[in-house]
């Protein structure tokens, strides 16, 4: 039996989708498999996952694949299991990014990082979703074999029908700048807003900034961001909050540029989404971002709002530059195709787990 365990499996969440795709993979190989989580989102189709309280007793030959991304009750329990233990590491947000806005979340991350170190000599094999995450595992003291396998992304979902009315409204001659990510301290939406404000003021008043992302737990941060945008004189800065998937599709389709100033990412699925929708990306070089972009996009080494704004303007106006960026992004996207990743996962399973 091969089971996957997550603290939470949410509807539409990158880690959850990754686990569901891996489950299908394991099933296709003929193994009995299941996903267990402490919290199972009610919107997921019945049978997707079960609650951890129903987890069976494991035998020596069983395999538990644990998706680690936060502090959790299960982190220590996982280390004490008598079966084969595989950890997929998605990275844990450094607590200092969160403590100003959500002390409990920051403490949870602090605990998670301590639990990670505690697991370093208890896990049999690790999969990191990026080289950046692999380096973090090595720094935490992991001595077992660690392979890198990017997140599986459900591209077919992006071909679904967008919200047509919203899309029509967004195609109103106004330049759409987009960033997707939880409203949370590590995503640094303030730097996106600062760059956008300069762009709108000096280069293109007919522009809007769309920040897709749930602010759950970080309402204080979101309000501070809104006040910041107002003080800068930026208009048309939209915080979408939690929206339906077809609305997300509309925003991506209508976007003219994707701007990312995040300072901590273990992989950054929205970058791959922007690549899929062929939107040129301008991003700050931090953590796993340059690796995920892999030569695509424009990667900035410094955060300077006015210079970032000028880069945005150049990318939007210069067709040759924009096409070159998108061509590079298309090439990089091939490395994240489902076929490539599934094949690699099957190899990993056979070489290291089964």
């Amino acid at each position: 039996m091969i089971v996957q365990v997550l603290p939470t499996i949410s509807y539409g969440d990158a880690i959850g989708n990754h686990a569901i795709a891996l489950k299908k993979c394991i099933k296709d190989l003929g193994y009995k498999t299941e996903i267990y989580a402490y919290h199972v989102d009610a919107r997921l189709p019945k049978g997707t996952a079960k609650r951890v309280k129903n987890i069976p007793k494991f035998k020596k030959d069983d395999v538990v694949i644990y998706h680690m991304s936060t502090g959790s009750h299960f982190n220590n329990q996982f280390g004490n299991l008598k079966c084969k233990k595989v950890m997929i590491y998605h990275n844990i947000t450094p607590p200092e990014f969160l403590e100003e806005y959500n002390y409990d979340a920051s403490e949870n991350c602090r605990t998670g990082l301590a639990e990670l170190v505690n697991l370093s000599d208890k896990v049999d094999y690790c999969i990191a979703v990026s080289e950046f995450n692999k380096r973090d595992l090595l720094a935490a003291g992991f001595k077992c074999k660690i392979d890198v396998l990017p997140i599986l992304i459900s591209y077919s979902d992006y071909d679904k029908k967008p919200n047509e009315i919203l899309l029509e409204n967004l195609k109103d001659g106004v330049t759409n700048i987009l960033f997707t990510g939880r409203i949370a301290g590590n995503k640094k939406q303030e730097d996106v807003i600062a760059a956008f404000a300069e762009y709108q003021k000096h280069f293109n008043p007919k522009s809007r900034l769309i920040l897709i992302g749930n602010d759950g737990g970080y309402e204080k941060y979101r309000r501070r961001l809104q006040r910041f945008a107002k003080q800068l004189g930026a208009h048309d800065v939209k915080f979408t909050g939690h929206i339906k998937f077809n609305a997300i599709l509309s925003y991506y389709r209508a976007a003219d540029l994707f701007l990312c100033m995040s300072e901590h990412e273990g992989f950054c699925v929205p970058l791959v989404e922007a690549m899929y929708f062929k939107k040129p990306i301008v991003a700050y070089a931090s953590t796993a971002i340059p690796e995920t972009l892999g030569g695509g996009g424009i990667v900035l080494q410094e955060k300077n709002p006015l210079e970032t704004a000028a880069v945005m303007d150049k990318v939007i106006r210069d067709e040759n530059l924009r096409n070159a960026i998108i061509e590079n992004q298309n090439k990089r996207l091939e490395d994240f195709s489902n076929e490539v990743i599934i094949e690699r996962f099957k190899e990993i399973l056979k070489e290291n787990i089964l």
Binding site: A194, R224, F228, L232, G233, K331
Partner: protein, 136 residues
Amino acid sequence: MSTVNVDEIMNQIRAEIAQKGLKESDIKFEDIPMVNNDIFGDVYNYDEFSKSLDMARPHVAVNASPALHGNILSKIVKKVLRRLIAYHIEAIVDEQNEYNKYTFNAVSMLPDKIDEYEMRIEALEKRISELEKKSN
């Protein structure tokens, strides 16, 4: 892959910014206070409302099995008792958690709506003021 020379682009951009004399805003995110200092009336206080939501959040999910305290014997007894009534307690806790989750989600939406209404009120008041000036 096509060559996109980022260094060259940045040099061009810096030269253009200098040539045009463009200046960046002085306002920094660190200048924006964490909390809105406006107090809205004696009874309702936005900060208290916001703080209360933050304090309530970690308690939304009730734990049916909190840590047991006491000596070894008392812990064993408590564990047995807990198992005997688990079927009853867990059902109640699950139901309570569902209620807590949806109630909290509903209440959490209020600050956004309040912000939205405040902005609309501000815009309307401005418009009224302009119209009043015009009619005078």
